[in-house]
């Protein structure tokens, strides 16, 4: 997955000329990459895909995929996609703004170093720890909530949204924004000050600069970052699980549900079908991104 490709100038290195040789050995260099992709990406996907086509007696079946139309799976699919899209978009916008604030500051300043280290930690901050931090602060017994409530602002009056999808929207932003800072910073650093000055001396103002220069240059990297954030939220399991333990509103939780015999039937084939569904959705988003990038970043 290519994300946050710096828009800096790339050079096209020509292929070495192999005088008269009919067979090129160029592909040799790609072997480790292909082996890696095969072993860690394609092989597991194929195993899961095969498992999804088998029933309890290892006979071929399409039932597992048919079961994806169960209403709670459809709802989880929609909810997870929307949740991921919203937190990816908001996380990208706020993360990009934060990253921009950093690059406009001094390159070795304390603000920059502090924000980057903090983002490094916070981007990995998830699961039980993050959920607990929220419950302890703005949960129904959390000190922030109690304080706000005492001052006439009861943000749980309607419902306890923290333990529903809106709660996940908020909580996810706590790792989405820092992740955006980390992946978008290189792209911003690739923007050269000469470009702004050139635009200025050619008669452009700040708006022209963003509209015609910085905007188009950063857009592909921004898009790539949104995709990464989407995938990040889409596959998040621990945080959702720690915060919401009723109803399994997120797809990853549905996989866990289908694998545990406590709640209902133990359905390993169905769990694999859900996994395949997730893989397909992320793949679709990636393809969409690639097409968009090809249109927006012809110069790379």
């Amino acid at each position: 997955m290519t994300v946050a490709g710096s828009p800096a100038v790339t050079t096209n290195v020509g292929r070495p000329f192999l005088g008269g040789r009919r067979f090129s050995l160029d592909w040799v260099g790609a072997v480790p990459y292909l082996a890696y992709v095969g072993l860690f990406l394609i092989l597991p996907s194929v195993i899961i895909g095969i498992g999804a086509l088998l029933d309890a007696n290892n006979a071929f079946t399409l039932d597992n995929f048919r079961n994806l139309s169960r209403s709670y799976v459809v709802k989880a699919t929609i909810d997870t996609t929307v949740l991921s899209a919203i937190t990816a978009f908001l996380g990208a916008v706020f993360g990009a703004l934060l990253a921009y604030a950093i690059v406009t500051g001094s390159p070795n300043g304390i603000l920059r170093r502090l924000t980057i280290s903090a983002s490094g930690v916070l981007a990995q901050f998830g699961g039980v720890t993050l959920a607990f931090a929220f419950i302890a602060s703005i949960g129904p017994a959390g000190f922030v909530y109690l304080f706000a409530q005492a001052h006439g602002f009861d943000f749980y009056k309607q419902d306890l949204w923290l333990f529903e999808i809106p709660g996940l929207d908020l909580v996810y932003l706590y790792f989405q924004i820092p992740l955006m800072v980390l992946v978008f910073l290189p792209a911003l650093d690739g923007i050269k000050p000469q470009w702004r000055e050139a635009a200025e001396s050619l008669g452009g103002n700040t708006w022209h600069y963003w509209r015609h220069v910085a905007g188009p240059l950063l857009f592909p990297a921004f898009l790539g970052s949104v995709l990464l954030l989407f995938a990040n939220a889409f596959s998040a399991y621990a945080t959702a699980n720690a915060l919401i333990n009723q109803g399994q509103p997120v797809l990853a939780q549905q996989i866990a549900g289908a694998l545990s015999s406590e709640v209902g039937a133990y359905e390993p084939g169905f769990a694999k079908a859900i996994a395949i569904e997730m893989i397909i959705i992320v793949t679709l988003v990636t393809v969409l991104y690639t097409l968009l990038q090809r249109r927006t970043a012809r110069w790379l």
Partner: protein
């Protein structure tokens, strides 16, 4: 349409400070209409700052910028109508060459057909007509700088500014593009300020060369004059190679190893001094005593530079650089004894007490 070329540009007593650093310390410089002035000086002497103040990319703490008789000191960069070429990597990477060149016209609301046509004309002018649809990443450094030049000129600016536009290129491309810039500048007739730290470049391209040190102009004059009659020891040192030879000032001349050389500034008190002697003011004697004498020494190195060669001669207590025609140098390979002759060109001197002041 603005007046195309040939305006006078005046920098008056410009001061610019960054915290405790004074980058420009009262710089004054007037460029005649259509003139190309090269600002020459070591790194950090304030060349870029001067250029940026003129472009409006930086504000002066004091002083004025006057272009074509109009005070533009308070005008922002995007309203000064100044073309600028940066050191490197200034092309917009997501635009092909002609789009880059057309950018300034787009800012001036020129229609797309017209601006493409004019961009192509400009690319033609810099010899890159065939590269109109290339991205920066598909061009060499020299080609990118040509496009940058075309882009700067496309807006028909009143003034053209170039900040070390050749320093990122390799030697061969550098001299070719240097001549190319000069050709285009003469063709357009635009008043131009060219910043460089390379003395050869400055001398080759400029109508006048301004040598800067520590935020001030040390000397301003035609290349030949700056080279042959440096106004200060700093200029002598920075422009061209210089031998520092011990001597004694006596009645308006300096005696060096038995030879008497006139002084550029004869009104100095008698006493010991260091004379700054150009390598080409020293010759290798073809006859006379080659074994004994104050100016007799041993050749320790010969550097072949084409038509001329540079010979290093060890005089025992000091070494002297001599620049002579290669034919003359070839008669004196390393190890041979030679006698030097000092041509009576006026020289600058430096007094001992002035030396430590250099920082």
């Amino acid at each position: 349409m603005t007046e195309r070329s040939g305006v006078e540009v005046r920098l008056e007593n410009l001061v610019r400070r960054y915290g405790t650093v004074t980058a420009l310390d009262g710089l004054s410089l007037t460029l005649a209409p259509g003139e190309l002035v090269a600002l020459l000086g070591p790194s950090g002497c304030g060349k870029t700052t001067a250029l940026r103040l003129l472009a409006g990319l930086e504000e002066a703490n004091d002083g004025r910028v006057v272009i074509g008789g109009k005070d533009v000191t308070g005008l922002p960069a995007n309203r000064r109508n100044i073309g600028m070429v940066f050191q490197a990597y200034s092309l917009f990477p997501h635009m092909v060459a002609w789009e880059n060149v057309a950018f300034g016209l787009q800012m001036r609301h020129v229609g797309v057909d017209e601006r493409k046509k004019r961009a192509l004309d400009m690319l033609e002018l810099v010899g890159l007509g065939r590269f109109a649809n290339r991205y920066a990443s598909q061009m060499s450094g020299g080609q990118q700088q040509r496009v940058a030049l075309a882009r700067a000129l496309a807006i028909q600016p009143q003034v053209l500014l170039l900040d070390e536009p050749l320093s990122a290129l390799d030697a061969k491309v550098r001299s070719r593009l240097r001549d190319e810039i000069r050709r285009v500048q003469l063709e357009v007739g635009i008043t131009t300020l060219f910043v460089t730290h390379d003395q050869e470049e400055a001398l080759a391209i400029a109508d006048r060369v301004g040598v800067m040190q520590a935020g001030k102009l040390e000397q301003l004059g035609p290349p030949t004059l700056v080279y042959s009659r440096p106004a200060t020891p700093f200029v002598a040192d920075f422009v061209g190679l210089t031998n520092r030879m011990e001597g004694t000032v006596r009645r308006g001349a300096v005696e060096i190893r038995g030879a008497s050389i006139p002084l550029v500034h004869p009104d100095v008190p008698d006493g010991p001094a260091i004379a700054l002697v150009r390598p080409e003011a020293v010759a290798l004697a073809s006859d006379g005593d080659m074994q004994e004498g104050p100016l007799v020494g041993t050749v320790i190195a010969v550097a072949f530079l084409g038509a001329v060669s540079r010979v290093t001669v060890d005089l025992g207590d000091t070494t002297v650089l001599v620049q002579v025609p290669t034919s003359a140098a070839s008669q004196h390979p390393a190890g041979t004894r030679v006698r030097l002759e000092l041509r009576p060109d006026p020289v600058l001197i430096q007094r001992e007490e002035a030396v430590p002041a250099a920082s």
